[in-house]
Amino acid sequence: MKVHADRDVCIQAGNCVMVADSLFDQDDDGIVVVLVDDIPAEEQDKAREAVKLCPSQALTITQE
């Protein structure tokens, strides 16, 4: 699974980091950074949760 983060759309709410800090981080400006290129099976539920919780829809699953 791959997740794409649109850094222009990100509003720095940090919800993704809150639910999946092994997969997402914020840079110094608070903007999302995806830490893992290929998301391992055991982390995929967390990734889906982060995508769902993003208030600005900055995250999309590009490859299941």
Binding site: G14, D21, D29, G30, P55
Partner: protein, 401 residues
């Protein structure tokens, strides 16, 4: 003008913690209802979880800005210049791209990493407040001695506002958001608040400190007008006071009414994070999102809303939508309630959410561990709720231990 004895507008009515059955009926039937707001206008209430998300995600058709000439009845029409001044820096009155420009200047101060660096200082503030309570001895008003001072001290330090001035700005902030206070008085309080903040901005321009105002002056001083700095700082001060403080007060009361869940928050550190999310959902203290104005004819839940109308997304209703969460009327701190709308949704999602969560994660268990026998020291039926305020909560809460 409204009288305190009247019922508040439909979307603000509660039965203690919970929205009234009327709101649930709307959600379960037509979904969107025209109703009369605190100013006597016909506006539209949006009650379902998915519809609220759709409205809040769509800033092009549901705008936070107000068209020229938009005015509250009974208030002299402001000049374009006055309107621009009052609007400057108020993130909640702006749409992208203007909104995004200002928000991005502030977000470095509210990242999760930044909040972790603040954690030890918040622990100190909470402990000091508990010491004061303990030495005063029971009974004490938990709102005045715990729920309000903790977020107030934190936002003052963060922002660079002298806590010694709190009597004035705390009094202003609670009345500014109270719909039973006449509009001219609320506007006057807003004017006084801006005048006060103007003095702090002038000082930060001369001598920028190690706080948010100082950071904004140092890093963005050339791109921000004084009006914008005043607007941003006034909003953060207001938001920092009226939100977390009401969660701490009302949340403590909710736990006291659910003792087995209170025990969990006190005794199990892993229970605290999910508990806070569920308290945020179940209490939904922000009575509605900032009303959006339709920029075109739109349809929500099959109801056509013509252009130029105000839309009130009801977070308390959306957070108790059975299509969003099972047994929505139950408080169950174990479930964590991911996806709740208490912090809003879309580009205006609460900027201070990581700070609010951090303050609550520290304050609730610290209170319950310091006073393991914490109890209500007044009858539940006597507890004074903030019936008319934009942010729901408690006026006071007598507790003993």
């Amino acid at each position: 003008m409204t009288e305190a004895t009247e019922l508040p507008p439909l979307h603000m009515r509660r039965d203690a913690f919970s929205p009234t059955a009327e709101l649930r009926k709307i959600r379960e039937t037509e979904g969107v209802r025209e109703f009369t707001n605190a100013f006597g206008w016909q506006v539209y209430l949006v009650t379902r979880h998915e519809d609220i998300k759709a409205v809040l995600s769509d800033h092009e058709r549901f705008s936070n800005e107000r068209p020229p000439g938009f005015a509250v009845q009974g208030v002299p029409q402001a000049t374009a210049e006055e309107q621009a001044t009052a609007r400057a820096g108020n993130l909640l009155g702006l749409d992208p791209p203007e909104h995004s420009r200002l928000r991005r200047m502030l977000t470095p101060e509210f990242t999760i990493r930044r909040m972790k660096r603040l954690e030890p200082r918040i622990v100190e503030i909470v402990d000091a407040q508990l010491d004061t309570m303990e030495s005063a001895g029971p009974p004490v008003d938990l709102v005045e001695n715990f729920a309000l001072p903790i977020p107030s001290l934190v936002i003052c330090e963060l922002l660079g506002v002298p806590y010694d001035d709190r009597e004035d700005f705390q009094r202003r902030s609670v009345r500014q958001l109270d719909f039973s206070v006449p509009i001219p008085e609320r506007l006057e309080l807003q004017r006084q608040g801006r005048a006060y903040m103007t003095t702090l901005v002038a000082r930060a321009r001369r001598q920028p400190g190690e706080d948010i105002l100082g950071m904004l002056v140092r890093e963005h001083g050339d791109e921000l007008t004084d009006d914008e700095l005043v607007g941003v700082a006034s909003l953060l001060l207001l938001a920092g006071h009226e939100t977390t403080s009401n969660m701490l007060g009302l949340g403590t009361l909710a736990l006291l009414r659910h003792p087995e869940q209170l025990d969990l928050v006190r005794d199990d550190p892993d229970a605290v994070g999910p508990a806070i999310e569920e308290l945020l959902r179940w209490l939904s203290i922000v009575q509605s999102a900032i009303p959006r104005i339709t920029t075109t004819d739109v349809e929500v839940a099959g109801v056509t809303i013509p252009a130029g109308n105000l839309v009130f997304p009801s977070m308390p209703s959306g957070n108790r939508d059975a299509d969003f969460i099972d047994s929505p009327e139950l408080l169950d701190i174990r479930r964590g309630a991911p996806g709740h709308l208490a912090f809003g949704h879309g580009v205006h999602h609460c900027l201070g959410a990581p700070l609010a969560r951090m303050e609550m994660r520290i304050a609730f268990p610290a209170l319950l561990r310091r006073f393991p026998n914490l109890a209500l020291a007044e009858d539940f039926t006597d507890v004074a709720f903030r019936t008319w305020n934009f942010i729901y909560g408690l006026k006071s809460l007598e507790v003993s231990w």
